[in-house]
Amino acid sequence: MSDLNKLGLAEARDALRAGDTTSEELTEACLKAIDGAGALNAFVHHTPEIALEQAAKADARLKEGDAPAMCGLPIGMKDLFCTKGVPSQAGSRILQGFLPEYESTVSQNLFDAGAVMLGKLNMDEFAMGSSNETSVYGNAVNPWRRGNDDAALTPGGSSGGSAAAVAADLCLAATGTDTGGSIRQPAAFTGITGIKPTYGRCSRWGVVAFASSLDQAGPMTKNVRDAAIMLEAMCSYDAKDSTSADLPVPNFEAALTGDVRGKKIGIPKEYRMEGMPEEIEALWQDGIAMMKDAGAEIVDISLPHTKYALPAYYVIAPAEASSNLARYDGVRYGHRATLDQGDGITEMYEKTRAEGFGPEVQRRVMVGTYVLSAGFYDAYYNRARKVRTLIKRDFENVFAQGIDSILTPATPSAAFGLGEMADADPVQMYLNDVFTVTVNLAGLPGIAVPTGTDRQGLPLALQLIGRPWEEADLLSSAYALERAAGFVAKPEKWW
């Protein structure tokens, strides 16, 4: 078989089980693709020895007929996951040299399911960013370009390396994490599929924390079926994460009927933003027509507090980040600044954090510190948490009306150029998450599915939002949308 790296998870799994290929061949094909893709800067720590060892074990298991769900399938791992003995830096200088003594629950689950790890993937520092431009490793680059224009585009963020790697066929699939849209926005920018499950589905244990009440891991894959397979492997109840859900994990792949007849799909009027490009509006209308043709009932709905989701997020997420990132003090792990004569422990903290954190992380830690400080806690933090209650209530109300899922655009634009937002106000960059962030605040599952291209040939995606814990139903609706849209475009190889 040729071009094995171009396979998806389901195809490769079936080929492995049919004996048409081996995990070692698949892994070699991916390692070769990675070696030739330095220009994308997607893989930042390479683990070929681990990959080949895991592949050999997988091949042995396949031969014995003892192959778990992801046996022998080569994937990339976002740098946010702690992987034992392998650099895990969260894209930050402050964790340079850090080698975890433990394995995150999600990566362990994937290894238990037989997955092969090719290496660690680029990302925005501490997952704070929407363009992968805040990474200590430098920008990850989108394999897609605007027609014949060779300007480098962002793969989105924060899971930018994951998105670029999957879109460029450097791996079969990758892990991502999503705090305000960090799986769905980069998936949308690169024409791949990405799902953020219900808060609590995937254990956060061993995932470097950004905003603990919002962070969730999820898969980034080449299609919806692959997302179902990999999500199931990632999910589990985990006593080491107190917010992990003790619920059975369904067989998501088996639930992929793509039958949406009689399903009620809500179209929220508040997602029709002022100044939204016509192409996004047209994409959305096309998606609505596709779901209607497939037999779904389209219902206009209202989520009245949508407008306040981003401002609430930019209180809650920095507040939690300022607390979570207090641990980077130059004492227990990672970088410590070189001190001057007479410097005490406070200077050590301050210099270490100034050197170790990039500008966006510093900004968010300080905003978080401010909104939690005496005198402002009620005005900002408590108010934002009350608004969060209202945002969640909006969703509860429409689900109580019988809505099964909600269809929205995934992003307000296609991928933009790297550096294009350099002079913009930080708030402009935050607007990238306008359609995705509500889902994190309400703890719901959301999936981005590529459904079209803009006039420059760049991929565009729609988002489906599901009821809590009903990822199986959500994936099945996404499967219907994927089949109807028939998006098959791939970036032309230039790297």
Binding site: D246, S322, L339, G344, I345, M366, G443
Partner: protein, 95 residues
């Protein structure tokens, strides 16, 4: 609510991040941009609304209060920038 350079310096201090004095005006300006955006929240009527503490309505699990972990001194110190004699080492904190 407008943040001046003194407030920016105080926040940097609280966050234990060293900011050079000449970087403070730009920092204060960025804070003001972000806080201006956040200010929209004051439009929302939150009378009688409970602040969210848990996004999924689940009761936290309980377990027996007993030691489940330990004896990992070597692993814990392995990534320390400066570890000596089984301890984390830091600059002198007492005179």
């Amino acid at each position: 609510m407008s943040i001046d350079e003194n407030t920016a310096a105080r926040v940097a201090k609280l966050a234990r991040i060293k900011v050079e004095p000449d970087a403070l005006p730009a920092l204060a300006q960025e804070f003001n941009g972000i806080l201006g955006f956040i200010e929209q929240l004051s439009e929302v009527d939150v009378e009688g609304v409970e602040p969210m503490t848990s996004v999924t309505p689940q009761r936290l699990k309980r377990r027996v209060d007993e030691v489940t972990d330990g004896d990992q001194q070597e692993k814990i110190l392995k990534n320390a920038p400066d570890a000596r004699e089984g301890f984390f080492a830091v600059p002198k904190v007492v005179e």
